[in-house]
């Protein structure tokens, strides 16, 4: 089976030339057709950056220093800008992190959905609104006709996230990048959103790259997972295997650190500082090597 997404040895640095900080240090991962892969790591591990690199949404001061990103066998980085843009939203979609701010505050929900439908599918205004109604029904929004007429601030956070999910799956993409879509939501809404993503993924037979720091979420919906730290892949494999028999000490520590409701708060075991220290010094050693190679 060919991979929908194949990221190979990706290096990304952010910052002014000369003083740039590495955020991805040779990260590689593959997402097969219809696969749900969890991408986990702590804050600053580079997991969001990897997702953004695939979408071409890196900050203006970021540089892709090396590596390839292949989507359905085509090199995204070598592709001319308009061609790549035509893939975005249609073949590769994003479920953004914060539903509160990811919708345009001054445009009605219906207008925002139909902009995209008309752009990619060349639908007429009326057809686009009709399709938008169907999409909202699909994400279990009652009275979709009425919601289309509302502004984002008039609907709840959970509803907004559903609208964004509906938009992500609207054009039957083969890859959806979910950038911590549950982080900004409260726990009860989180579960609904996860179920929704899973259901839509099956219906539209899309692959999902699920970026998150929540191992619980990964265990729930991801078949495979990749553990990222300091821009490097530490471990990857089937979720059940990784969670049951973690091979890398960092994954083991991460699992042990997961808070559980049935244990008192004092029992929290953070990832040992010595381990993090050694991982970072290894990463910096690699930076030194990478810098030394070209000369």
């Amino acid at each position: 089976m060919t991979a929908v997404l194949a990221v190979h040895d990706l290096h990304v640095a952010i910052g002014p030339r000369g003083r740039a900080a590495n955020v991805l240090r040779g990260a590689s991962l593959e997402v097969g057709a219809g696969e749900v892969r969890g991408l986990v790591g702590e804050s600053g591990a580079g997991k969001s950056m990897l997702g953004r690199a695939v979408l071409g949404l890196l900050p203006a001061n970021a540089v892709i220093a090396g590596g390839t990103i292949q989507f359905e066998g085509r090199d995204l980085l070598a592709m001319p800008e308009p061609e790549r843009r035509s893939l975005l939203g249609r073949r590769i979609a994003l479920i953004p992190q914060d539903p509160m701010t990811s919708l345009n505050p001054v445009k009605r929900v219906g207008a925002q959905i139909s902009i995209m439908l008309r752009h990619h599918l060349a639908l007429s205004k009326r057809d686009a609104l009709e399709r938008a109604t169907e999409l909202l029904t699909e994400v279990a929004i009652r009275e979709p006709q009425r919601v289309l007429e509302l502004y984002p601030h008039e609907i709840s956070g959970g509803m907004r996230q559903r609208v964004l999910i509906a938009m992500a799956f609207a054009c039957d993409p083969s890859l959806v990048i979910a950038d911590e879509p549950t982080t900004a939501l409260d726990v009860t809404v989180q579960r609904q959103v996860l179920q929704l993503v899973e259901r839509l993924r099956q219906r539209h037979s899309a692959a999902v790259l699920f970026v998150t720091h929540d191992l619980g979420v990964v265990a729930k919906i991801c078949r495979t997972m990749t553990v990222l730290h300091a821009g490097r892949v530490l471990e990857e494999g089937e979720t059940v295997d990784v969670l049951a028999k973690p091979r890398h000490p960092y994954t083991r520590a991460l699992l042990a650190a997961t808070p559980r409701a049935d244990r008192p708060a004092e029992a929290l075991r953070p990832v040992p500082p010595a381990l993090i220290e050694s991982l970072w010094s290894e990463a910096h050693r690699l930076d030194g090597l990478a810098a030394a190679v070209p000369t």
Binding site: L57, G89, I115, L164
Partner: protein, 295 residues
Amino acid sequence: MVDLAVSGPAQRPSRWQAGFGRGGQRLWLGSALVVLLFLVALLAPLLAPHDPIEQDLLSAQLPPAWMQGGEATFPLGTDSLGRCVLSRLMYAARTAVAVALIAASLAAIIGIAFGLIAGMFGGWIDQGVSRLIDVWMAFPPVLLSIVLAAVIGAGLTSVIAAIVVVDWTRFARVVRAETMVQLQRDYASAARALGLSRGQILRLEILPNLVPLIVTLFAVEMGIAILVEVILSFVGISVAGDIATWGGMIVEGRQVVYQAPWIMAFPIGCVILSVIGFNLLGDGLRAALDPVQRR
């Protein structure tokens, strides 16, 4: 799956009503003054009791009707040539409104275009536009207007041109800054992830968010344009002498200010009232359209 309730009541109050409520008295008073000004300008031929250039030397420098020696046919008295002050004020309002509308519109169009482009593309384009604005703003605006009017020649076109050439920077500066702010918002990057081009993002996503700002600025700009027109006609480089302008009336009244102070007082009052009107309107609109207060 349980559906989430739609927040907000089913029957929402009209947006216009809500907006006017937030705008408060400033908005009411400002709109009243501005509407009055526009109506007078529009209906001047119907409202004016006399022809504004009809001279009646026998009844020169008549005081307003309610003062001793006033005549009911000349409600606000007559000037040194026996022309009806009220009629001249009304016809002068036409000049003022025409200049305000045309000059403010052109300044807005040019300024918004430059501001959007500079804000979107950044880099050397932004540098170029920003320096241009800096240099432009270093000139004293009225002096620049006088020089321009002198170069192009007197007349309504040159007055408008002078205002546009000076005041586009007002729009460009604010629009540029706000475009940059909006581009940092999540909805802008979400729009990029939908595959929209930069032009589409500017037009469909950013511009609607700038509307409150632009409307507010436009109202204030009309007040400024009226003031500049008065100054230019005061120094005699505005429209031809036989067309009534407030600035021209002030000049004529100044010569007889000790014998007939009302001739000068009335046009000054008109200028003050209309500028106050536009400023209150701008202030009120700012409150009424503020997207933060709209939720």
